[in-house]
Each structure stands twice: as C-alpha cells, then as structure tokens.
C-alpha cells in the first residue's frame, strides 16, 4: 500500500507573515506582562552596551591625553648623584665636592646601539654662580633667570631642537670643549643678540662663549626652549659637575613607537654594566596597562553583571512564555483542530519569545547608548560608540528570546490536542 501523500491533500502551512502576526497579536494581548518580561533583557543588553561604550569612551580619553611624544620618551637619571645629595643633606656644596657624573663618556654611543633608540644624550642644568648669563661682562644682568643647559649632540637630537639660524652644537665642539653656545630665540631677545655674522659673545660666569646658532622649537624637555645650550665638556671644565640639587645629569632618549618600555629596561645595564643600579630609567606608562588599569576591573565586573541580567532575562522570557503556553492550551487545541501541525504551534511561541527578546534588545541598546552619551556629556568627553558593538547588540536580545523560547515551544508542540480541547 502506498504511503505517498495524496495530491488532493496539500500540507497545511503557516506563512511567515501570518506566523509573525499571530505571535505579535498573542504577545500584545498582555502589554504589561510583555514589558515586565522584557525588563531583564533590556537591563542586560543595556548594561552590556553601556559598559562597553563607557570603557571605550574612557580609554579614548586616556589615549588622547597620552601623546605619541610621551610614549617615545625615556629618561635615565643619575641616581648616585641624587643619593649623595641626600647624604650630604644640603645642596650648598662647593664645585669640587659635587659628585661625578655616573654616565660613562661614551654614553650616547652605548645607548645608540640598543634596538629602538632613535637618538639619546646626556644633559643637565649648568650650575652657574650668581653672575649667570649676561650680554656683557660688567653690564646690567640682562640674562637673569635664563637657564643654561649642558647637552651632548645626542641629547640635542633627542630633544628635537630646531636650529633657526647659524649652526648647532656638533660632535667636534663637544669633543674639543669649545666655548660655544646656542641661544633660544627667547634668550637671544633678552640678551640683545640679533646678528650672528659679528660672532657675538655672551658671558657665563664672566667666561665668554661665542653664539654660533639660534634655536626655537624643542619637542622634548620643552623647558630648554627658554634657555641656552653649551657642550657638556665645556660645562664640566668651566663650571664643574652637575649640581644634583638643581638637576642631576640626565639622559634623554627618543625611541621608536612601542620601544620605550624595552629601551628603559635595558638602558642602565647598557650604560653601566658594572653598576647598573647607579642609574634609574623612567619609562612612560605602558599605554595598554594604563588603559587596562582604567577599565579592566570595572569592565569585567559590569560585563559579568550584564551576563547575569541577560540570564535572568532569558529565564524571565522562558517563564512567561511557558505560562502563556499553559494559559492557552485551549487555543492550542483549537489551532490543531484547524489544521495546525506541531511545528506551527512551536513556531508561534518561538517567534513570540523571539520578538519579545528582540524588542528588549532594541530598547536596551537605545538605553545603553543614551547612558554612554549622557555620561560622556557630563564629563565633557567624546562619546565613543563602536558600531561593531552597538549594531549587533539587539541580536543579543533576539538570541536570548530564541533560547528562552525553545523549551516552551517544544512543550506547546507536544500538547495532545484532545486533552487541549477538553480544557
């Protein structure tokens, strides 16, 4: 005997539009309950979007403040000198009693060999006496308050000093200890230096230094842009070792992006393999760890809370859908008598919970975005709303609804129509 379907008996079907209409009408019969059911999903998806949005907004602030310049600057400080200052208990030492520089004479070359270093050199504030810098040996102290810095050519390169007239301090002048100076534009104006053709001189503690160049912009250690620069050899010979009370000898290193941490960890040993502990390298904060420390703990906590809310949301939808199945047993029986197959009954309830979850997801996403915008506005931050998170967020609600609807839908599909019609 044939089990083939008779062509006169076309299978019953439930069109997709009909299915959604039935599910919507069913869900909207009790709007209050529908809203309460959505609450967990709304909270879960909302918390999810808000937390991730706030995290990226906050870390956006961090990276805005944290410039590339800072990220590529390492400084190495002469700790031995600073420690000796503490032991002496006073900055008022004579020239001779100032501690020697812990950096080796070939410090610039040693550091240059490290991977990731672009330029590096030692510099410090020259400990001038009361005479300071002035334009004439006996005249008015027109340079009062101007600072003079000793810097190797490497340090000047690392600071990214822009020479605007004349020449900079080169290796020859450094090695030969020439009495040469380059003035910042600000210092040149104060000291009345205009024309370098005349080979003008300025006086440092009454010693004449020839002005060979002028500079303006200084990217690293911008305090230098208001002073004057001389070779370190000349500085030590004429004015003694650096005064740790003012500023110990310091090395400035400009690194390639991302190399700062590594360079900082290697610098003391590369400079002083015998006594690496006499030097302290200061690296910029790791941008990742900075961001993580801002967001890490809280994000984890809130994402966990959002997951809990979503789970509660799923249980809520599952529960409501199950209650609605049990309330509508008679309706299920009727639909079966009208030709609905078990799959049509399952689809109806599955779509009902899917719609509930999706609406919850949409509302939650909107609320989450509003929270991010409100918080950012109140702190004068730029709200960063990642479409990669925001756009799929409502799908999270749909997923919750779909999962939550599976069990009630199966229950509904398996209800015996005879028993259902009796109710």
């Amino acid at each position: 005997m044939s089990r083939r379907q008779s062509p006169r008996l076309p299978s019953t079907r439930l069109g997709i539009r009909d299915a959604f209409r039935e599910a919507l009408v069913g869900g909207l019969q009790r709007p209050g309950r529908a809203i309460l059911t959505m609450l967990g999903t709304i909270l879960g998806v909302g918390a999810f979007v808000a937390v991730l949005g706030l995290t990226s907004t906050a870390s956006g602030q961090v990276s805005k403040q944290f410039t590339v310049l800072q990220a590529t600057t390492v400084s190495v400080v002469d700790r031995a000198a600073a420690d000796s200052l503490n032991q002496a208990g006073s900055a008022d030492n004579g020239t001779l009693s100032r501690p020697p520089i812990s950096f080796p004479p070939d410090a610039d070359e040693r550091i240059q060999r490290l991977n990731g270093v672009e330029a590096a050199g030692v510099w410090w504030t020259v400990p001038l006496g009361d005479a300071g810098i002035r334009s004439s040996r006996t005249g008015y102290p027109d340079g009062e308050g101007l600072k003079v810095y000793a810097a190797t050519p490497g340090a000047i390169a690392a600071m990214e000093v822009t020479v605007t007239a004349g020449v900079g301090l080169d290796t020859f002048m450094e090695k030969s200890g020439q009495r040469a100076v380059i003035l910042s534009n600000a210092a040149a104006t104060r000291l009345g230096v205009r024309n370098l053709q005349m080979q003008p001189a300025v006086f440092l503690n009454d010693l004449p230094y020839t002005v060979i160049g002028l500079y303006s912009d200084v990217r690293r250690n911008s305090e230098v842009s208001l002073g004057a620069l001389i070779p370190t050899a000349s500085a030590v010979r004429d004015f003694g070792n650096p005064d740790p009370g003012q500023m110990p000898a310091t090395m400035v290193i400009s690194t390639r992006v991302g190399a700062a941490q590594l360079v900082a960890s290697q610098a003391p040993l590369a400079l002083r393999p015998d006594h690496p502990d006499t030097l302290v390298a200061v690296a910029p904060p790791d941008p990742h760890s900075l961001r993580d420390s801002v967001s890490g703990d809280l994000t984890g906590l809130f994402v966990a809370l959002a997951a809990v809310s979503l789970t509660i949301g799923a249980v809520g939808i599952a529960n409501t859908t199950l209650v609605s199945v049990l309330e509508r047993v008679g309706e299920i029986g009727l639909r079966r008598s009208l030709g609905a197959r078990p799959r049509h009954i399952a689809a109806q309830f599955l779509i009902e919970s899917l719609v509930t979850g999706t609406i919850g997801g949409l509302v939650g996403t909107s609320l989450g975005v509003i929270v991010v915008i409100a918080v950012a506005a109140s702190r004068h931050w730029t709200a960063i709303i990642d479409p990669a998170i925001t756009l799929p967020a409502p799908v999270l609600g749909s997923l919750v609804g779909l999962l939550a609807g599976l069990y009630p839908a199966l229950r509904a599909a398996n209800i015996n129509p005879i028993a259902a019609l009796r109710s």
């Binding site: 005997m1 006169r8 019953t12 009909d18 039935e22 019969q29 009208l338 030709g339 197959r341």
Partner: protein, 234 residues
Amino acid sequence: MMYGEQRRAVLQLVGLGRTFPGPPPIEALHPSDLTVHGGEYLAITGPSGSGKSTLLHLLGLLDRPTAGQYLLDGNDTAHLRERERSSLRANNIGFVFQSFHLMPHRSAAENVELAMLYNRSPRGSRRAAAEDALRQVGLAHRIDARPNTMSGGERQRVAVARALVNRPSLLLCDEPTGNLDSANSHSVMEQLGKLHAEGYTIIVITHDPGVAALAQRVVEIRDGYLIEAGALGF
C-alpha cells in the same frame, strides 16, 4: 445539490474500534460500522461515558483507531500521515465545540479568519470569506464584536461560521448546546437546520434528546456499541 451527489458516502466506518491500553484496557468503542452520506444530518446520543467523545475524536482525526477502517471523502485515514490528517482537518472537517473555543481578544471576523490560517487560503480573501460566513449564520451586525460582548448563542454561531467558512464536507459538533440556555440552544439548532437544508453534512453529538430529535437520523451509543435508532424500534 443533486441527488447523486447527496448519496455519495462522506464517511464510512468499517469495524472501527478504539481500545485504550490499560491497565486495564478499556474498549471505549467496539468495532462498529457506520456510513454517512453527503447532506445527511446525524445525531449521536448516549449516556455519559458511553464513548461519544471517543467516536468524535476518531471522526475528527484527532485520534487514531485501534481497529478497523475510517474512510473520509474516499481517503483511507489509517494510511495517512499526521501532515495529511492535518490537511483533512483544515479543509474537509469543521469543528464546533461545546465551549466555543473563541479567542477572547479577537473580533468575530478575526476568529473566523483563524480557520483559514493554516489551509493555504490567500491572505487577501480571508476577510471577505469570514464576513460571508458570519452573514450566513445571521451575524452580519456582529462582525467586529468581541466574543465577550456576545450572547452564548451568538458565540456558538461565530464558532459555526468558523467551522463552515472553508466549506468542509463534514461539520462535527460536540455538544453544541451544552453550554447554552434553551433560547440560545434554539437559535443554534435552527442554524444547523438551515445548514442541513443548504446541503451540509452534519454530525451532532448530544445528551439532549430534544436536540437529537431535530436531526434526520439518530444513532445511539451504549457502552461503546453503536446502535441505529431504527434498530431499537423507535
């Protein structure tokens, strides 16, 4: 409708029986024979527990027999799969239940439209068909009314409209007046009488001898045995 058409057998039971597996097994319907022709109006009566509902569920393809054959519109239903039985329920059978089974939040027309949800009726034509069916049962003025604003008789007539909107070959009514007072019962039975006159094949299951008396033919069921009323000598 032509006479020849009227004599076509809409349903035919050949040794149809239903035994509920126990323990103890209950033979709710003993193997029975019954033929109902097109246009017949048949009442099935019997005391409580006699097997009326069991028979109705078999006729409505909501249950499967444990013995015998059931042919509906020439289809041997024993050999049909669930999807084909659903198709027969959707197209060939109209149910009227004692408790109406109307959706309380939907209008009369929407309740009637539900009968066309699963049987591939074009969406655009459902509303008009539902209104036609409601006019046919005398409810032209209640098309947009909700069931909770209607009398019991009106509600049952909405259910009748829903049962006949697909023009089924068989109307199965299970205690259609069981929840109605006599006035409302009367309006519903009058309606069934009119449908009989229009050529519908109707089977009514009822306790009520007054209701049974309105049918053209009465079959008694006693302890699971089908007995033609004529055979008892009325």
